[in-house]
Subunit: 212 residues, 2 copies
Amino acid sequence: MAIKVHGGLFSTATMRVLACLEEKELDYDFVPVNLRAGEPKREPFLSLNPFGQVPVLEDGDLKLFESRAITKYIAYKYANKGTPLISQDPKEIAMECVWMEVEAQRYENAAAKLTWELCIKPNIGMTADEAVVEEYEEKLAKVLDVYEDRLAKSKYLAGDCFSLADFHHLPTINYLMGTKIKALFDSRIHVNSWCADILARPAWKKVFAMKN
Amino acid sequence: MAIKVHGGLFSTATMRVLACLEEKELDYDFVPVNLRAGEPKREPFLSLNPFGQVPVLEDGDLKLFESRAITKYIAYKYANKGTPLISQDPKEIAMECVWMEVEAQRYENAAAKLTWELCIKPNIGMTADEAVVEEYEEKLAKVLDVYEDRLAKSKYLAGDCFSLADFHHLPTINYLMGTKIKALFDSRIHVNSWCADILARPAWKKVFAMKN
């Protein structure tokens, strides 16, 4: 039975999961969920994810939600297919865990808010709240200062190899590259190279093209 | 060389790491960091964690920050010591990852805010912001509704075994039990039993007693 992904192509969390499947060169069926019509907040979707959010992955009888849990599952279960996304070395895994937490707890907080204000709201006829943008721009800048120091010492966040810790950033970085926030990434030389590197991955480009 | 934990006993993230070491029956040295004096925001601490927050774990030459990354490292590296905190079965690991993400992304957001307002602020001479409390109380209630359904079907969040997915909740649950938020946990029968169960763990009681 093929892997099934229930999601929406504008959802950063859905894009994260689809790109992971592409990195792993896995076949899957994409089941579009109508976000604007509120489909995730009703049954039968709520039985897949009680929090009413996309994406959901079905692999055989396993039903998973939370995009970062899904990518970890794919990376471990299909370790021998496509791009390695998690190391086999315990110390490297530990560093990958640290930087995955940094992404989820620190980077995402600011980046998701800015993506919402500057990319999603204008797309659905709403206006960005400039005070919110300013507040989260400052927060994101502080996180990127730490990234700049880190990426001066290693090619990728967790070390010398590309991993889920870098990969998880892709959807929001790609969105924010179309906004004034691009300057925050461009003005930091190592962050800038890192962004160019990870955005150029064929798996990512394929998923980003799907929504156009 | 013994494991070293740099932290503060009132920090929920530090308590999470110490309790994990206790569950694993590991020896460690606790290095107190003066949070009120802003020690984490200055060198030499910043070289341990560029985000300037406790805790940091040192295990040999490995230096790790982000409490949930540290607990995962301990759970994997010391899999055969003390309490098993992560399953060996890939499907069970996947479910543990899902509920660890739920804790970190959904529960923690509300619980940490309420802990700050109702437990930490009064402790340092500040007053809780009632509007903020009300907003996050509502958010926490929604998360706990999902937990109640889940815990009606399985003894623990990820399945029938206690795991990091449950364990990560302990510091904020323990703090909130001393506030009016206790009612949110008590009024949900399965959540209530689950709280009583995990709060009674000897490893947790030992760490909670350390701060008194």
